[in-house]
């Protein structure tokens, strides 16, 4: 069920767009929905970030993954246990750009003895990295639709991405890598019992959605070719707030566009927000310097603790007998407290 429902949902969504355009709802799918979804995406993203940021970070809780700053002759690891801004900057850059923590991944196995053995396991890291970078390059490549000319960096990306120069039009490596890595990410959830049990329908849904977007995009390029010039006119119209939908683009394009709209509308209200969240994670984005620099908790509560005076009041007699120094002697001065 966890797998079937999201799969069916994605297929239905695709069908809705295809049929919708077939019965002449181009304006809805080409203009209204894109605007609504962009508003949902931007508004939702900002709202979610605000929602997180308004909760304070009461304590400095980095997870230290290397030697902290200590005595001068002890070699410290600024990237794994940063003591200041630049260390944190480096640590966060490694996390965001190269998925440092995932790179550490191991696989534990119960071996005869019984005993446990650990081996390095980099598949998830590799697939994740390929997936995210490919997606980024593909999104950037789409920038060509948004401007009248084609910016230099997009041309550069296209030429690098298409360096194999096979097929016509040229095959983009990132298209291929994206499809392969998403497929892998789906299959790994299905292949192991551990992954099956932890996966929710909301884990499969975005994967299927992205896969469908990629496949519809690829099919437009290689199989069911669409009128690219008309698409560019549509997109330019959208970005310059001219609300016309040119006709005759082809159903597959609207499927592609609609699924993208679904994805970005869904984004801020789902786990996909890990994209924004990673920057705010207090176990990673704080320096490990809490004994050196006082961290302030804005809601630091007043707490009644048992003071020394109360303690001595209870135990004074026993303390005096045991020759433990006290503030007050027995018992004549006691009333002073």
């Amino acid at each position: 069920m966890k797998v079937i429902y999201p799969l069916v949902a994605v297929l239905l969504l695709a069908l809705v767009a295809y049929l919708g355009v077939a019965i002449g709802l181009e304006y809805l799918f080409g203009v209204i929905i894109p605007y609504v979804s962009v508003i949902l995406f931007l508004g939702g993203f900002i709202w979610k970030i605000y929602d997180w940021v308004k909760s304070p970070v009461p304590f400095r809780i980095p997870t230290t993954c290397g030697q902290a700053k200590s005595l001068e002759w002890i070699k410290r690891d600024e990237l794994e246990s940063p003591s200041g801004f630049w260390g944190v900057f480096g640590r966060m850059s490694l996390e965001v750009l190269f998925f440092r923590s995932l790179f550490r991944n191991t696989k534990a196995e119960l071996v005869p003895g019984p005993s446990l053995a650990y081996s390095s396991s980099k598949w998830l890291w590799m697939a994740g990295l390929i997936f995210h970078w490919s997606l980024l390059v593909i999104v950037l490549r789409h920038y060509r639709f948004f401007l009248a000319g084609v910016p230099g960096f997009v041309e550069f990306l296209e030429s690098v991405d298409g360096f194999l120069q096979i097929t016509l039009p040229t095959l983009y490596i990132t298209d291929l890598l994206l499809v392969i890595s998403v497929t892998f990410l789906v299959l790994r959830r299905l292949a192991s019992a551990q992954m099956r049990i932890i996966s929710l329908s909301t884990d499969y849904f975005p994967l299927f959605l992205i896969l469908a977007i990629a496949l519809s995009g690829i099919s437009m390029r290689y199989l069911d070719k669409v009128d690219v010039v008309a698409i560019k006119v549509l997109v330019q119209g959208l970005v310059s707030f001219q609300f016309d939908a040119p006709g005759g683009i082809g159903g597959m394009f609207y499927v592609h566009l609609f699924l993208v709209c679904v994805l970005i509308s869904y984004f801020p209200f789902s786990k996909l927000m890990h994209m924004g969240g990673i920057f705010l994670s207090p176990t990673r984005n704080l320096a490990n310097n809490s004994r050196e620099k006082r961290h302030i908790n804005p809601w630091n509560p007043e707490v009644q603790y048992r003071t020394y005076a109360e303690y001595e009041d209870e135990f004074r007699e026993k303390m005096v007998k045991a020759d433990i120094p006290t503030e007050f002697s027995l018992p004549s001065e006691k009333e002073k407290i």
């Binding site: 002759w73 534990a108 551990q194 049990i197 310097n289 603790y305 048992r306």
Partner: protein
């Protein structure tokens, strides 16, 4: 009839023959459909009514987790939901971690409880989902609309029981957070979970009673001042008997330069007492002007394991006492969770400690620049500096009867980043030190299985399973290097690793780092040493083989 814990052979057979998620066998149903089952050995005694009253928590009553009816108060759900809302607004970590998990599974096989039990709900991601599912139902629109389809479920008594079980099968060790691509820390979820359990009046005694004791008497065990002094003095006598050197600890002494605070387990528990003897010998050796306090006689802080408020309350005594005694700074003994609190919470909660001075070693003049605000120094930092500056006379051959390995305690490694200091000290006080395998030490270290206030006897089944990954790593070096001494710098380790070793690796004893320092110290006016602090025979120091090692 099962025993608690099961016989080793039975558990080994279970590991090898029974299907387990760890080995890739599917439990045949979703974790949501697996009922919670309390049986002998997998639950801790409920907190006693007087302890609950003392701590000011809800619904004091006599009950047991095994009871069908937990005698929950009318309206407990509302209290818990409101408590959740309050904490989501107060802790960004909590809110963020509820939202951003993608269930990638990197954490799944990183938890010692999962590795020792194969229980799906012990995968850190599922432990978080126990809470997240309720969060979705109460606080997200998708959860409210799509319910179970998006993994949301209402808060029920069954869910509370599940929380009780699994937030007490997490030792807040943070190993999973090392591997998480977003740094999601299950300990944050468990901490919140336990606070919410407090609101529902479902606490465990092993955590609550020490917290309550600590408030009244100054330490977890409820030891009163005169007894505390007696015990420390008897340890001083033991030192004199064994070494001929007199050490003179002082108590609540105003004007001392340094206040020394260590977990009460070092004073009252075997083998912690030998570590305490090591500290006292070290301080005598260097002529340190220090005092102990009977009021701040607990380094540990079981408040960390139950609520932020109790943590702050218990911790407040350290600065309060340091100010009263007029010391310059505080030196802290070997302990794991104590140091998580001191390093990451203390200054924020109870600082600033303006009345103290920036810590400088009176022996070497070294400034502890990493502690300039909190003004509390870890004993391993302090001793490593002494050794580095050549201030200690050490004969590591006196530990030649020990073949050591070092257990990083979770909080020290992952909450402080202290990895090298204890190793440096260890290498200088003994000749035989071998590391456990990769992925089981430093930031990847495994919990003893009993941390976060779970080292209670009725919980042996869970503890022996949870300690399996640590024991398995020790077994490796025991077989490879004949290791017989597991050195740790944590009081809970010293209490909980001995039964773990007896169970899995008989013949391996547990030592504190400063016990080995005490063994190796060559003190002025000492008698000839032939026994270590536990009165075990040292190796004959005159024999050729050992002195050769020393010459190297």
């Amino acid at each position: 009839m099962t025993t608690n814990p099961p016989k080793l052979a039975e558990l080994q057979l279970e590991y090898e023959q029974e299907p387990s998620l760890l080995k890739g066998d599917s439990p045949g149903k979703e974790w949501l459909d697996i009922p919670v089952e309390f049986r002998d050995g997998n639950w801790c005694h409920a907190a006693k009514p007087n302890v609950i009253e003392d701590l000011g928590f809800n619904n004091p009553r006599k009950w047991s987790p095994e009871d069908e009816d937990w005698q929950l108060e009318e309206g407990w759900q509302k209290k818990v939901k409101n408590g959740m809302k309050e904490r989501l607004d107060k802790f960004r970590s909590f809110k963020l971690f509820m939202d951003i998990c993608v269930r990638c599974g990197a954490c799944a096989d990183k938890c010692h409880f999962f590795l020792g039990s194969g229980d799906p709900k012990n995968m850190p991601v599922v432990r978080q989902e126990l809470m997240r599912s309720v969060y979705r139902h109460e606080f997200t629109w998708s959860g409210k609309i799509f319910k179970g389809l998006v993994g949301a479920r209402p808060l029920s008594e069954e869910v509370l029981k599940e929380w009780f079980m699994y937030f007490h099968q997490c030792t807040e060790c943070r190993r999973c957070s090392v591997y998480c691509p977003f740094g999601i820390d299950t300990a944050e979820v468990t901490l919140m979970g336990r606070e919410l359990l407090n609101l529902a009046g479902t606490n465990i005694n092993w955590i609550s009673e020490p917290a309550s004791n600590c408030n009244r008497t100054g330490n977890h065990l409820g030891i009163e001042p005169h007894t505390y002094k007696n015990v420390v003095e008897s340890l001083a006598e033991d030192i004199e008997d064994q070494t001929g050197v007199t050490v003179n600890p002082s108590f609540n002494r105003k004007g001392a330069e340094i206040l020394f605070i260590t977990p009460s387990g070092d004073v009252f528990g075997d083998p912690g007492i030998y570590t305490m003897m090591g500290y006292m010998m070290l301080f005598e050796h260097i002529g340190l002007d220090y005092t102990l306090s009977t009021y701040a006689s607990e380094g540990g802080n079981f408040g960390l394991f139950s609520s932020n408020q109790s943590m702050k309350k218990i911790n407040a005594k350290m600065f309060h006492e340091a100010e009263r005694l007029g010391v310059k700074w505080i030196l802290g003994g070997e302990c794991g969770h104590m140091w998580r609190v001191v390093h990451q919470y203390m200054d924020t909660m109870n600082g600033p400690a303006d009345f103290l001075e920036e810590p400088v070693s009176p022996i070497t003049g070294t400034k502890f620049r990493n502690a300039t605000s909190t003004k509390m120094v870890h004993i391993a930092e302090f001793t490593a500096d002494l050794i580095h500056q050549g201030k200690l006379k050490l004969d590591p051959r006196r530990n030649d009867h020990l073949k050591t390995t070092f257990h990083d305690s979770c909080n020290i490694a992952r909450g402080m980043g202290m990895m090298e200091e204890p190793r440096y000290v260890l290498r200088n006080v003994c000749n035989n030190f071998n590391e456990m395998p990769d992925h089981t030490i430093r930031e990847e270290t495994f919990c003893c299985g009993s941390g976060s206030g779970l080292n209670t006897d009725e919980y042996m089944d869970v503890r022996m399973r949870g300690g399996f990954p640590r024991a398995s790593a020790v077994k490796h070096v025991k077989e490879k290097y004949d290791v017989n001494a597991l050195v740790a710098i944590c009081a809970i380790d010293r209490a909980s690793l001995p039964p773990l070793m007896n169970y899995w690796n008989p013949g391996v004893s547990v030592y504190g780092l400063h016990e080995l320092v005490g063994n190796a110290l060559v003190m002025e006016g000492e008698d000839e040493r032939t026994e270590d602090l536990r009165e075990d025979e040292m190796e004959d120091l005159d024999s050729e083989s050992t002195s050769r090692e020393y010459d190297e």
